[in-house]
């Protein structure tokens, strides 16, 4: 942290109205399992999981439905007991509304767990074994990025991190699922944190909780009291405090290098919800099949936090949360700043769904875009210290390289710039577009390289075949010549013999 920040407080980020209460104070509810669940095979960063069940197969709750595929992937388990009725495409919870492969599970109404293998004394296990069990339970980062948790654990063990940072920031407005989880299940979270410390080999855990959640801070402090290695650290409420790099900066004073990872400064960041999922997976052997989802927004009948089985439709979750009071202007999965706008409500809840927001027109506040007046509000708001207005100017004219030159790759897409822009320019959408376009160009480049190799291999093959053919022809010719010569040399002998 810079000297200026020490004296004058944090200069980056924004302070939006948080809209977290009264939803955060409402008691947690559990949604009954709907008749049909649509379990997406792409619920994590990385390759989609590969189905491990057949249509018509009976499964128990917690049975594995799909295996991880490739280096970065996660297993997927049955959120309830029942029958697999289909494996096919359904609309993805994504702004594009494109299809995604999913397993349809028809509930038998019993919600019966499969035989689970818990562990009464997990601290006797090898760290690698904990990672293995976390992977087997299909745990992914529940803060929103859905990076496979086991992979992060084993990577941090290899890179020898010293500090485990637990992200309880939950800086997104409207969302309160982490807050609620810390209030209700502090003991489970602290146990999960200790298991993660054991798995990573880190010596201490810093739990960063924004100071607008006094109840969560109190509950977590109480639960962590017996364990000196788990320290609860309130942090100022400021968006995007829950961003990995910002939380590391505030808690340790270290800045993650531009193209680096938290491991480079000896820390690893996990979400508090992930800690609870790790606790469930190791202590009770329960895979990640449900999660706490904040249902909020002016259109929701009874806003609050609900335990939802993975694969339930957003429509059904909204119906359970008291239905819709009016037609929402916008449906959002995740938070209002970084979440995804949904095309409709018939998409399933996935492991990374932290919230479902049904916002009305006043909350959406869509305003017409105006030209940039170069006031540099976005520059002051950017938590990374980039120049959003310059980046957007480059992207507007299709100059992606120029945008990268002024730091596009360091953008964390937090949306602070677009939030503060007095001209309502959708800055962060420009950056999302540019990042997608860059990725597409990179894919095209790799593809062109691969096909060039193939074309070369083909021309080499054709040359080789021609050469072999010529050699064969030459050999045959030589053989024929030799045969003719032999015949010629034999025939004089015959004639000689005849003469004799």
């Amino acid at each position: 942290m810079g000297l200026m920040e020490k004296f004058f407080g944090l200069s980056w980020g924004i302070h939006p109205e948080d809209h977290k209460r009264p939803a955060a104070d409402a008691a947690t509810r559990t949604m009954p399992v709907p008749e049909r669940l649509f379990v997406s095979l792409s619920q994590h960063i990385g390759a989609p999981a590969r189905p491990a069940v057949l249509v018509g197969q009976q499964v128990k709750k917690g049975d594995k439905l799909a295996d991880p595929q490739g280096a970065v992937s996660a297993a997927i388990h049955a959120p309830t007991s029942g029958t697999v009725t289909a494996i096919g495409e359904i609309p993805a919870p994504h702004p594009s509304g494109l299809p995604v492969l999913a397993i349809t599970l028809e509930s038998d109404g019993k919600d019966e767990w499969a035989e689970l293998q818990g562990c009464p004394d997990p601290f006797a296990l090898e760290p690698a074994e904990i990672s293995r069990r976390v992977a087997a339970a299909g745990v992914v980062g529940l803060g929103g990025a859905t990076f496979p948790a086991a992979l992060k654990l084993s990577l941090s063990q290899k890179s020898r991190v010293s500090t485990l940072i637990m992200n309880g920031g939950e800086c997104e407005p409207y969302l309160s699922c982490d807050d609620r989880l810390m209030r209700d299940e502090a003991a489970a979270i602290v146990d999960g944190i200790r298991l993660m410390l054991h798995a990573t080999g880190a010596s201490e855990a810093l739990v960063g909780i924004e100071d607008n959640k006094p109840e969560a801070i109190a509950a977590m402090s109480e639960a962590a009291r017996p364990y000196a290695e788990v320290r609860i650290r309130p942090v100022p409420a400021r968006y995007p405090m829950g961003s990995e790099k910002q939380l590391i900066l505030v808690l340790t004073g270290q800045e993650v290098p531009a193209d680096g990872r938290p491991g480079d400064v000896g820390v690893v960041v996990h979400n508090v919800g992930t800690a609870r999922a790790v606790h469930e997976a190791i202590r009770h052997g329960r895979p990640l099949v449900s999660r706490l989802v904040t249902v909020n927004g002016a259109c929701v009948g009874q806003p609050g936090n609900i335990f939802v089985p993975v694969g339930a439709l957003v429509e059904e979750v909204l119906a359970f949360a008291g239905g819709l009071k009016k037609t929402p202007e916008r449906l959002i999965m995740g938070g209002p700043m970084m979440g995804m706008s949904l095309p409709h409500a018939r998409v399933p809840v996935v492991k990374g769904t932290s919230g479902i927001l049904a916002l009305d027109a006043a909350q959406v506040a869509d305003r017409a875009q105006e030209p940039c007046i170069r006031c540099a509000s976005c520059v002051r708001a950017c938590p990374i210290g980039l120049l959003p207005l310059e980046m957007a100017r480059h992207i507007q004219v299709g100059d992606l390289k120029g945008a990268v030159g002024v730091g596009l790759k360091d953008c964390i897409a937090c949306g602070c710039c677009a939030y503060v822009c007095p001209s309502h320019i959708p800055l962060v959408q420009y950056f999302a577009h540019a990042k997608g376009e860059m990725a597409a160009q990179e894919r095209a480049r790799l593809r062109a390289e691969a096909t060039r190799k193939l074309a070369q291999a083909r021309s080499e093959r054709l040359e080789r075949e021609a050469r072999e053919k010529a050699e064969l022809a030459a050999r045959r010719k030589a053989e024929r010549a030799a045969a003719a010569a032999a015949a010629a040399s034999a025939s004089p002998a015959v004639t000689e013999g005849a003469q004799a």
């Binding site: 994504h94 875009q369 105006e370 997608g436 593809r447 062109a448 691969a450 096909t451 074309a455």
Partner: protein
């Protein structure tokens, strides 16, 4: 004798010096731009640009008789790269890049004649006589060389479907 050796040596040294200076002063910068352009092009010699293969296209690009957008399989990305290499300004927004297309084989029409697979510059078509052929999507460059060889019109160029992994957020409309 000595005078002759000396005068010839001096003459040689002076002429050599003059040549050396001239080669420095009158040096003509010949950037190997054609070779660089050829390395950027797909290298499949598909002929869609109308030039004799990728080296022909590179030569035309280098002398300026071909536009940077001449390579259909390269698409927008290659056009931008070529324009940058040649120092041309290129308005990509006007380029209607209808997206890459890949060849597909209609299984009910394929008679297994093996004509298409011989024409493929990247060996992307799998097949054997009287067997239905198939195209390896990863290896197809979309050069359409195979389309004309098919006697039953079973080979069709189709746009690459947009998937969740390849979706790009549309650019916001400017104010």
């Amino acid at each position: 004798m000595l005078a002759a050796i000396l005068s010839l040596t001096i003459l040689g040294a002076l002429l050599g010096l003059a040549l050396g200076i001239a080669s420095r002063l009158l040096h003509v910068e010949t950037p190997p731009v054609q070779a660089e352009l050829e390395a950027m092009l797909p290298g499949t010699n598909c002929g869609q640009c109308g030039f004799p293969g990728c080296s022909g296209a590179a030569a035309a690009l280098a002398e300026g008789s071909a536009p940077p957008t001449c390579c259909p399989p390269g698409g927008k990305a290659l056009a931008a790269a070529i324009a940058e290499k040649l120092g041309l300004s290129l308005d990509l927004s006007s380029l209607t890049d209808e997206g890459p297309k890949l060849a597909t084989i209609a299984e009910d029409l394929c008679i297994g004649c093996c004509r298409c697979l011989k024409s493929c510059p990247t060996d992307a078509i799998l097949g054997a006589p009287k067997q239905i052929h198939n195209i390896l999507k990863e290896a197809c460059t979309g050069c359409a060389a195979c389309v004309d060889h098919c006697p039953t019109e079973a080979v069709v160029m189709q746009p690459v479907p947009v998937t969740l992994q390849h979706w790009v957020m549309p650019k916001p409309l400017a104010a």
